[in-house]
């Protein structure tokens, strides 16, 4: 009877969850806008409360249900929702990075380039190798294959590629890693959800860039490394190598980190084999392996220049001479967060790793936890991986300069290694409270739920109350609130105006109505819009790259003197016969925009093409005679 009532309650909760998840998706689609700076500007006011309710109910399901498959599926639905904000709300996803990737991917999709994307002018052997293995090529190939399979334009596939893959596979990777570490399926399922409580993890899961794809493969490589430590067959060794290779193919950063940890995993296993024969030598070898693993990433940045890239990474002590001691201490402790972030954002970014750190120190030094050797070895390995990431971040931040990327990307890897510990810590707190003699009313309440054998009428009442309070209110509210509040730190609160619907329409209009080779002179925002539709540096429909100085200079010159000379120079430079000049009011500012427009009309040399966005965007053209 009690069982069937429990099952019925669970069915109702699952139905309620699906209803709330559907409502969240619906409210997110209602928030879609063609003109906004951040996702928060147009987010439906009901969305956050409904999302909180959704996570709240899911948490309650995770604690009550025994069906791991259903719980994982529900988590995947929520994970996809949390990572699809950019793709659903903005017309062309988040500005800049992922649009550049789309611009390059489109060239592959349209078959306008051969042998993958190539961005460097010189073609030495090292450059060819570097370009072949750069992440954009793997992502472009995957997006193109999926777009062709679905017969859809690459635009939509690209926008949703990472949110979908991340939404599906990161909870699975988190589940598997935590299960391998703790051997507890309930903890592992909780980890699959809590991985979405880390702001940087949410942000990268929402952006279709090669680095995000690399993070997915990194997480799986980490899981297979843990499995490899206790495995007797070569399967896990092969799989950790394969996933590390894919991590490298997707992105340099994740690949190097995967191979660093792979090296550590092999050293760790060798240590375990040699430990009994020669313990001191084994320990020294492990320490050297740890140091070597931690050194690989910083040194690899220095050696990157040998592959023809423009990066000039180097070790330096400049920051110690230039920055005040307080800032150095801040950078060491909380990294970039020391620069003007509010307390809530700082807390949301550090609470998980801090909790993980404290918990690991606790379990490694507490005698009674030393019993399970198999799990202890894995805990040690994962903790070493966690430490390597912490050390590398500080080395990149304080001792290096000229890096090709921001060191904060390592936070995603840090969070991946922290998630299993955080979840295990949460689970351990409840286990502790459940096994201790009740001394306080809260412990009595919790105890009454965990130890049903101590039954009396008062005990039963307390148990019912405890069950309701802990499973349905306290834990879901805290953890659900954590996941929801993390979104405010994950998605930027301020940003430039995202690519607007009228910029996209203008670009599409030009592409549709021009039947010859053309070039577009526009600001960087027009370039972003253009590359999402026709690709970067497409010889048939040329938009200058976002870092192209020629394109920038041409636009500045056209802005001050909108004459045919600038248009002709652009056509000569790109070997085209038609040119367009695009100006947009929100980008230039009303006064400057009006000045440029009146200059064009006064000069009467460029042809007026069309207006978009109710007069916010003007397009002019000039044809080579």
């Amino acid at each position: 009877m009690a069982q069937s009532r429990k099952r019925a309650t669970l069915y109702i909760m699952e139905f309620l969850y699906l209803l709330l998840a559907a409502a969240s998706f619906y409210l997110l689609t209602l928030s879609r806008t063609g003109e906004a700076n951040t996702i928060w500007q147009n987010l439906h006011p009901l969305f956050i409360p409904v999302l909180f309710a959704t996570v709240f109910v899911l948490m309650a399901i995770l604690f009550r249900s025994d069906n791991t498959t259903a719980k994982l599926l529900f988590t995947i639905v929520l994970s996809f929702l949390l990572h699809s904000f950019f793709s659903v709300i903005f017309p062309a996803g988040d500005l800049s990075g992922q649009q550049m990737v789309l611009g390059k991917t489109r060239r592959v999709f349209d078959n306008t380039i051969l042998h993958g994307w190539s961005g460097l002018p010189t073609q030495t052997v090292q450059v060819v190798i570097y370009e072949m293995f750069q992440g954009i090529n793997l992502q472009a190939a995957l997006s193109t294959i999926l777009a062709r399979m679905l017969s859809l334009d690459i635009f939509y596939i690209h926008l949703f590629l990472v949110p979908v893959l991340w939404g599906i596979f990161i909870p699975v990777a988190s589940f598997l890693t935590t299960k391998a570490l703790t051997g507890n399926e309930k903890t592992a399922v909780l980890a699959s959800l809590l991985v979405s409580a880390f702001p940087y993890t949410i942000y990268f899961g929402a952006n279709s860039v090669p680095n995000s794809l690399g993070f997915i493969f990194f997480f799986f490589s980490l899981y297979f490394m843990l499995e490899y430590l206790s495995s007797t067959t070569p399967k896990n060794a092969y799989l950790m190598i394969v996933f590390s290779f894919f991590s490298f193919l997707s992105h340099y950063l994740t690949g190097i980190m995967s191979f660093s940890l792979l090296f550590l995993a092999i050293a760790f296993r060798t240590y375990k084999n040699d430990e009994k024969l020669n313990p001191s030598t084994a320990k020294v070898s492990l320490v050297f392996a740890f140091l070597a693993s931690a050194s690989i990433l910083p040194f690899s940045f220095v050696f990157l220049r040998f592959f023809g890239t423009s990066t000039n990474a180097m070790f330096t002590l400049d920051k110690f001479f230039e920055l005040p001691i307080g800032e150095i201490a801040g950078l060491f402790l909380i990294g970039e967060l020391t620069h003007g972030f509010d307390l809530i954002t700082i807390l949301l970014n550090i609470i998980g790793p801090l909790l993980a750190f404290i918990y690991v120190i606790y379990i490694l030094f507490k005698k009674k936890h030393r019993g399970n050797k198999k799990h202890r070895g894995k805990v040690l390995f994962l903790f070493m991986a966690f430490l390597i990431i912490l050390i590398d971040y500080r080395v990149l931040k304080l001792f290096m300069d000229g890096l090709p990327l921001n060191a904060e990307r390592l936070w995603v890897l840090r969070d991946f290694t922290a998630v299993p510990f955080v979840t295990a810590a949460i689970y351990a707190v409840f286990s502790y409270l459940a096994t201790r003699k009740p001394r306080s009313s809260l412990k009595a309440l919790i105890n009454s739920f965990w130890r049903p054998s101590e039954s009396s009428i008062k005990g039963k009442r307390l148990r019912t109350l405890g069950l309701f309070f802990i499973v349905n209110v306290l834990v879901p509210a805290i953890l659900g609130g954590w996941v929801t509040v993390s979104l405010t730190a994950a998605y930027p609160q301020s940003a430039p105006l995202q690519t607007t619907w009228y910029e996209l329409n203008a670009v599409k209009y030009i592409a549709k109505h021009t039947h010859e080779k053309y070039v577009v002179i526009g600001d960087i925002w027009t370039i972003y819009a253009g590359e999402t539709i026709v690709g970067i540096n497409n010889p048939e429909a040329y938009y200058f790259g976002e870092f192209d100085k020629t394109g920038h200079d041409l636009f500045v010159s056209m802005e001050s003197d909108p004459s045919p000379e600038g248009m002709l120079a652009a056509m000569d430079y790109t070997n085209t016969t038609m040119s367009y000049f695009v100006v947009t009011e929100p980008r230039l500012g009303s006064e400057e925009f009006q000045n440029v427009i009146s200059r064009v009309f006064r000069g009467n040399e460029l042809s007026f093409v069309s207006i978009f966005g109710d007069g916010k965007l003007y397009v002019f053209s000039y044809r080579k005679m």
């Binding site: 791991t68 498959t69 994982l72 599926l73 592959v108 999709f109 078959n111 380039i113 051969l114 042998h115 993958g116 072949m132 090529n137 793997l138 472009a140 190939a141 995957l142 193109t144 294959i145 999926l146 062709r148 399979m149 679905l150 017969s151 859809l152 893959l165 599906i168 596979f169 699975v172 598997l176 493969f217 799986f220 499995e227 495995s231 007797t232 067959t233 399967k235 896990n236 799989l239 394969v242 894919f246 193919l249």
Partner: protein, 111 residues
């Protein structure tokens, strides 16, 4: 030849025809679902046979995505990924997953 392998080859050809003549996202979605179902199950069985059905399917899908992307990447680096070469990638992925299923099923999933 295994019935599902044959079905997967046929689906690859349907995808090619859809891409060349019909350009229907609905047909494409159906084909993708069946293609993934067949080949992800093959790869899941071949390599993660000891996991539960859900995880086997998930890991099989991930392996299939990796297989498609690495084959696509190689074809793209060699020349490009036009419709014909893309179809070749699908056929190659089917062949690899079918062979993996056939050869490794007996010794799969050992932890």
């Amino acid at each position: 030849m295994h019935l599902f392998t044959l079905a997967s080859y046929i689906i690859s050809m349907v995808i090619y025809l859809n891409l060349t003549f019909f350009i229907s996202p609905i047909l494409g979605s159906l084909a993708l679902i069946f293609y993934f179902l067949i080949n992800a199950v093959f790869l899941g069985h071949a390599i993660f046979g000891r996991e539960g059905p859900f995880l086997r399917m998930m890991l099989g899908s991930l392996l299939l995505i990796m297989l498609l992307s690495i084959l696509g990447w190689m074809v793209m680096i060699i020349y490009n990924l036009d419709t014909v070469r893309f179809t070749l990638v699908l056929l190659m992925a089917t062949t690899v997953s079918s062979l993996a299923n056939k050869r490794m099923r007996g010794k799969n999933g050992s932890k």
